[in-house]
């Protein structure tokens, strides 16, 4: 059968200063198919996408669009050829309106004058087709991540693209938001468009794609029919080795209650939140994005000021006014956004690890660099960070290894009693995920209390002893390990009678 290929790339090689980001990779996309592109972080998927969309020019290789060879000189060429991309981080203009975001670069212009009225009408039509709950004149910066993603998709649709590329669109979405996205993508396929879908989530792939292409270490590994490949084989293709026992959760006898939060309230964000953690216990905290999970934890740790609420550690009430108070007491937060909140990317790994404790190591206010280096090396090796030296900048590491540095930073704080991990595996690849779970298990074994915030159901079900579910700023329920199912969690996450659309205000 002569395949109806809409896009084909052959022997693409892309070199960045010092690195080969892509090494002779191939790719075929059929008309009207949803094609998943998978691989670990650093495998070259994002670079590959940027070659297709003309952001990067490949050093070698050919690209055929509907059988004809094409050379894109810039993103504009790719756009005109009918290729649109929705990137990992929404590439929106926060200070501009939805309409402008959608039409940026291909405005409706009549003799040099932008036709706002017709563009607004067109944008409204696109938003309607996506069941969006916001207006074309809204400012994008005020929308939720999910809504911004929708703007991006509307943008892709507005160019009437034949090929739509989605780069990890579900990474920041909750389960039901993802479900909505799936429906949209399927509809796009039914309209005859082709979709390339990059994701770390296997559920995304199984739910949507008919074929999957795997990259590893900048190289092309293979293309498989989704129906014809087992989960284990796929992981093997991606990681290069077999991974067994994804969630290494051991049964540990729990100790006494170590940490308790009572009646935490911050107007507009969360209300009357209470939960507790026992020594050696992993407590999951889940719910939709916008349910107030991160906001609660941030108030607990002193990042933001709660209106009311009490925090007890080992039975004693703490007064936490700022992050330092929590850290001194032994409550350590691994923040959600590694790159912005967890690490100083331009700094060496060592300095990152010792940042919170440099004062304790110092002699009379002077930094003890030697002690710092030794400690940093020890902790970084302890979590098996893939790095050459403690002086290399944190920005040079992959997402998984960056997360390990954040963990090492927490471990360096010797008074640690409670660890709070906010989305610890967000955007990191399978291999690294498993290592993070292992570390988590070991910490529990040592008797620390662990709170894990996550939107990924499999990992929270796989790792947590108890799960607190939050919905619209309140704790809507607590499930024991024995009684937990995906359905129960979903049910508790959804407000009764509401469609569960985040907390847009």
């Amino acid at each position: 059968m002569a395949e109806d290929l809409i896009l084909e790339l052959k022997g693409i090689t892309k070199i960045f200063p010092g690195v080969k980001a892509l090494n002779k990779v191939h790719f075929q996309l059929r008309r009207g198919e949803i094609h998943a592109l998978m691989g670990e972080n650093g495998a070259g998927k994002s670079t590959f996408i940027k070659v297709i969309t003309g952001v990067h020019a490949a050093e070698e290789g050919q690209m055929f669009l509907e059988g004809k060879e094409v050379h894109f000189k810039g993103p504009r060429d790719a756009q005109e050829a009918g290729i649109a991309a929705v990137y990992q981080h929404p590439t929106s203009y926060p200070t501009l309106s939805v309409t402008e975001n959608i039409f940026m670069g291909h405005e409706n212009v009549k003799s040099g004058i932008i036709q706002w009225r017709s563009m607004n009408a067109e944008a409204q039509k696109l938003l309607d087709s996506l069941d969006a709950d916001f207006k074309p004149t809204d400012e994008v910066g005020a929308l939720t991540i999910a809504q911004q993603q929708m703007v991006e998709i509307a943008k892709a649709l507005s160019t009437n693209a034949k090929i739509i590329i989605l780069d990890e669109p579900t990474a920041a979405l909750t389960a039901n938001e993802s479900e909505k996205l799936y429906e949209i993508v399927e509809r796009l396929r039914d309209e005859g468009r082709s979709v390339i879908f990059i994701s770390h989530r296997f559920e995304d792939m199984y739910r949507l794609a008919s074929r999957v292409t795997v990259f590893r270490d900048s190289q092309y590994i293979g293309t498989y029919d989704v129906d014809g490949i087992s989960n284990a084989d796929l992981i093997k293709a991606m990681v290069g080795r077999e991974i067994t026992d994804m969630y290494p959760k051991e049964d540990i006898t729990l100790g006494d209650e170590i940490f308790r939060v009572e009646g935490m309230t911050r107007t507009g964000y969360f209300k009357d939140v209470s939960f507790d953690v026992k020594a050696g216990e992993i407590v999951g905290l889940t719910g939709l994005v916008g349910a107030g999970r991160t906001e609660t934890i941030e108030s607990v740790c002193g990042i933001t000021k709660p209106d009311s609420g009490r925090v007890y550690l080992e039975g004693k009430e703490l007064s936490i006014r700022e992050p330092l108070d929590a850290m001194k007491a032994g409550i350590i937060l691994l923040p959600e956004d590694r790159q912005k909140q967890g690490l100083i990317l331009s700094w060496g790994l060592g300095r990152n690890v010792t940042l919170p404790i440099q004062g304790e190591l110092a002699k009379k206010g002077f930094n003890d660099e030697k002690k710092e280096r030794e400690l940093a090396k020890e902790r970084l090796e302890e979590v098996d960070t893939k790095a050459v030296t403690i002086f290399q900048p944190a920005s040079s590491l992959s997402g998984g290894n960056q997360q390990k540095v954040v963990v090492a930073k927490a471990l360096a704080q010797s008074n640690m009693k409670v660890v709070i991990m906010d989305e610890p595996t967000k955007g990191i690849d399978v291999g690294a995920k498993k290592e993070i779970y292992e570390i988590m298990g070991q910490l529990a074994k040592k008797g620390y209390g662990i709170i894990m915030i996550s939107s990924e159901m499999p990992e929270i079900i796989g790792m947590a002893d108890r799960i607190f579910v939050m919905c619209n700023g309140r704790v809507s329920g607590c499930l024991k390990r024995s009684e937990v199912t995906q359905e129960r969690i979903l049910e508790l996450s959804m407000e009764k009678g509401s469609s569960g659309k985040g907390g847009a205000a």
């Binding site: 200063p17 206010g365 970084l380 979590v383 098996d384 030296t389």
Partner: protein, 339 residues
């Protein structure tokens, strides 16, 4: 969970004299030497005595530069300090003339600077939404405005006032050998400020805030308190600058300190401190300050048009920030060509 893969991470810092010499600071030292050679070459009067004698007026600015270095490392900016020098100088002169003993006048001078800095710090930390450029643009106009009102209401009017009792200032203007007292003060202040920034936990916190304010806050650093301290410190140093400026001018007027803020920012940037924060150190800025001072003295002795000197400084400033950017792009291109 000790290193299951047994991977070892190096913790040995790279220290080679060669790399130190080739750093920005190394280049600055070369330039400082070159400027002094140039000075001797073009002016027969360019010698240690004359250079040190001409220096005090410029030295006053260097006090302020240390504080500005801290602010720039934080990723902030303060353009109000020139006006603050004017205000501090003015209250000192007026209070001294109103009968305050010299010791009290000194305290008033430093307190005025400190209070001005604290005002900046207060607004900058309470209204973090505002860019510090705006805040200090506002206080810049206010500080000079207060000085103008003071001249009219408490002074003899006329926007200028001079110290009637100059004994104390004369003492400060004294020299030890060929070295003016302010020279030693600058060296001492420099040693302290450089060490604090480079070697202490406080300095490390500044770099952390300048590199990533959010991450620093999450790591338990009291970001706003430290910013407040740095603004207050800069204010205090502006007071010190005003005091030492008084030892050269013995009076204050509405134009005192005009343009100082830009000059000290230029010194810092030329010394390798980035206005985006988290980069550079005060050693570089310290050397750069002396480069500019020596250059001005040398060219001044050659009676070169003062405006031409400003053009040269402007060019130096642009070249000094452009060269790293261009050479960076160049090496990147080269590497690309090699692979």
């Amino acid at each position: 969970m000790a290193g299951r893969s047994g991977r070892e991470i190096s913790a040995v810092p790279e220290t080679s004299i060669k790399s130190k010499l080739l750093s920005w600071e190394g280049a600055l030292i070369l330039i400082l030497v070159a400027v002094n050679i140039l000075g001797v070459a073009i002016s027969p009067n360019y010698n240690v005595n004359n250079v040190l004698r001409e220096m005090p007026r410029y030295l006053a600015e260097i006090f302020m530069m240390f504080g500005m270095g801290y602010i720039l490392v934080l990723g902030d900016i303060d353009i109000s300090v020139g006006a603050l020098v004017c205000l501090a100088g003015t209250v000192t002169v007026l209070s001294s003339n109103a009968g305050a003993p010299f010791g009290l006048a000194v305290v008033i001078c430093l307190a005025a600077g400190l209070l001005g800095g604290m005002l900046n710090g207060f607004i900058a930390t309470k209204f973090t939404e505002l860019p510090t450029m705006i805040v200090t643009l506002g206080t810049q106009i206010i500080f000079r405005g207060i000085a103008e009102v003071l001249f009219e209401t408490w002074g003899n009017g006329g926007g200028t006032a001079s110290m009637t009792d100059t004994k104390g200032l004369m003492l400060l203007a004294k020299k030890i050998g060929p070295f003016p007292i302010s020279f030693f003060c600058v060296i001492i202040a420099g040693a302290i400020m450089i060490t604090v920034l480079a070697k202490t936990t406080f300095g490390r916190k500044l770099y952390a805030i300048g590199s990533n304010k959010t991450a620093a806050y999450y790591a338990g650093i009291k970001v706003q308190r430290i910013r407040f301290i740095c603004y207050s410190l800069l204010g205090f140093l502006s007071g010190l600058c005003a005091l030492f400026l008084l030892t050269a001018t013995f009076g204050s007027n509405t134009t005192t300190g005009q343009g100082f803020e830009m000059e000290v920012i230029a010194m810092c940037v030329f010394g390798g401190i980035a206005t985006t924060g988290g980069k550079g150190n005060l050693i570089g800025a310290f050397i750069a300050a002396f480069i500019i001072v020596c250059l001005r003295i040398a060219l001044g002795q050659r009676n070169i048009n003062t405006q031409v000197i400003l053009v040269i400084i402007g060019l130096m400033l642009i070249v000094s920030v452009l060269v790293p950017a261009l050479s960076g792009a160049l090496t990147a291109k080269k590497k690309k060509a090699q692979t």
